[in-house]
């Protein structure tokens, strides 16, 4: 029984982290109608930039976010502004190709500068845990990951609801041309959305960098997680992404609990497949 509770807790905590991994991709899906195949690579790029900042300044990975997030925001903004916005009118394929190209370029740049060695972000928190009872422990870093995921989503939700800029992003997602007619500079809004998307990816990148080892090619596995979360939650749904993170996380961990550790990933994707069959628009499709 305790083992099951431990699994459930772990699944929920993992779910918050998964939401953080997927939220940026979901945003861009919903707003720009663009599948960012480089989302995972941007995430890992965030891990590496944090690695550079922490080792140069000797600060904790969490503190490094003060630098990593603005840098990644600018990268996202520029990528959208200088590359993706140019080809948007030509349909979905060119943007898909560009993000695929970006994915390869980022991986190889990382390989060039950092070699293929395993890296991680060092934090003393990584090993700490809170003991609730004999069999139930909460690893602090997962707890932080989960809280950060929830906070990101609540902050974004408030931003979209309360601010002119956020409303303009939602309006552009609803009807691009009408948003333009109301005086929204839509290209600018897209760049802003991508900046936000990549910033959330970078935050997730720092979290996973503290928890797991990473390599220049690690991005692909995070892309798959992001994709799963986006599909389950409904593309572009902020709170759906959070719920989807929990569902995906719990499904994985329960799979591991009942069928053994090797079944963890498989169960997650079986749930994804079932979701696709019965609710292809996602749970919380707007």
């Amino acid at each position: 029984m305790e083992a099951l509770i431990q699994s459930l807790i772990q699944g929920v905590l993992l779910g918050g982290l998964y939401a953080a991994i997927g939220i940026g991709m979901s945003l861009i899906f919903g707003i720009v109608k663009l599948t960012n195949l480089a989302h995972g690579d941007f995430l890992i790029l965030g891990s590496y930039i944090s690695l550079v900042v922490t080792s140069t300044l000797g600060i904790s990975p969490f503190l490094s976010l003060i630098i990593v997030v603005p840098v990644m925001f600018c990268i996202g903004f520029l990528v959208q502004n200088t590359m993706l916005n140019r080809v948007l009118a030509k349909g979905a394929e060119p943007t898909l190709m560009i993000t695929f190209g970006l994915s390869i370029v980022i991986q190889n740049l990382l390989l060039y500068f950092f070699t293929a060695d395993a890296r991680n972000l060092k934090s003393s928190i990584a090993l700490k845990s809170i003991t609730l009872s004999d069999g139930i422990r909460i690893p602090v870093i997962y707890l932080i990951g989960c809280i950060v995921g929830i906070v990101i989503i609540l902050v974004l939700g408030a931003y979209f609801k309360k601010t002119y800029q956020g409303k303009a992003i939602m309006a552009a997602a609803d009807d691009l041309e009408v948003a333009q007619l109301m005086g929204v500079n839509t290209k600018n809004i897209y760049a802003l959305a991508m900046g936000i998307s990549i910033s959330t990816a970078a935050i997730a990148g720092v979290l996973v960098g503290v928890i797991y080892n990473f390599y220049p090619t690690s991005g692909s596995s995070y892309l798959v997680i992001a994709f799963a979360v986006v599909v389950i939650g409904g593309m572009g749904s902020t709170y759906g992404t959070l719920a989807a993170g929990f569902i995906f996380g719990v499904a994985q961990v329960l799979g591991a609990h009942f069928f053994g550790a090797q079944a963890q990933l498989l169960t997650g994707y079986v749930v994804l497949l079932i979701m696709l069959i019965f609710r292809p628009q996602g749970l919380f499709s707007r």
């Binding site: 002119y164 409303k167 303009a168 939602m170 309006a171 609803d174 009807d175 041309e177 009408v178 948003a179 333009q180 007619l181 109301m182 005086g183 929204v184 500079n185 707007r286």
Partner: protein, 237 residues
Amino acid sequence: MSDYLLKAEDINAKYGDFHAVQGASFDIKKGEIISVIGTNGAGKSTLMKAIVGIMKPSGGKVYYKGEDVTGIPTHKLVEMGLIAVPEGGRVFPRMTVLDNLIMGSYTPKARKNRDQALERVYSLFPILKEKANQAAGSLSGGQRQMVAIGRALMSDPELVLFDEISLGLAPTVIKDIYATIRQINKEGLTVILVEQDVKRSLKMSTKAYVMLKGKIVLEGNSQELTEEEVKRAYFGI
């Protein structure tokens, strides 16, 4: 030149090889209502898109308040007080009625007077206040049109361009909406009506332009044009 609030000269617009607007010219003075009449596919909407900067004209000039504004981005025109009510009451369907209206006051200039503008819209369309927190997509066609008009008024405009405002609406609703347009015109707004409804357009406007196959084939003072004459131009017979 400065007599006109807006003047379009020899506008051409193309979709690929399709020459949708072929040398259309029209002008409007401050405080006027003009109508641009034509069948589906006559090029009216494309002409309007070229005017408001959604689409770059392939030829011709647009002057607004005496300035050459040809091909400048829409958001700049909105700041200058030119706003469009898009065809078919296009709202932001997943946003609330209130958020739709707020989006109308997106430009810095309009944000300052937002609360005042909102009160005015609510007094024109009391139903919108009742439905403020509903998703705009859940409203009826007529109510959506009210949202679209109210949203445009939120921008503190001088010139409002109504694109096919009566499309798909019940006659009584159309009547109400046209009464509102007349009222806001009396309060000082300049209005361009893009319409398929010949009779109503002539009745509402001071000047009318009839479009056919991308060209303006007839223009004149609405009172002097006969319905017969307009209909012939409208159908090209």
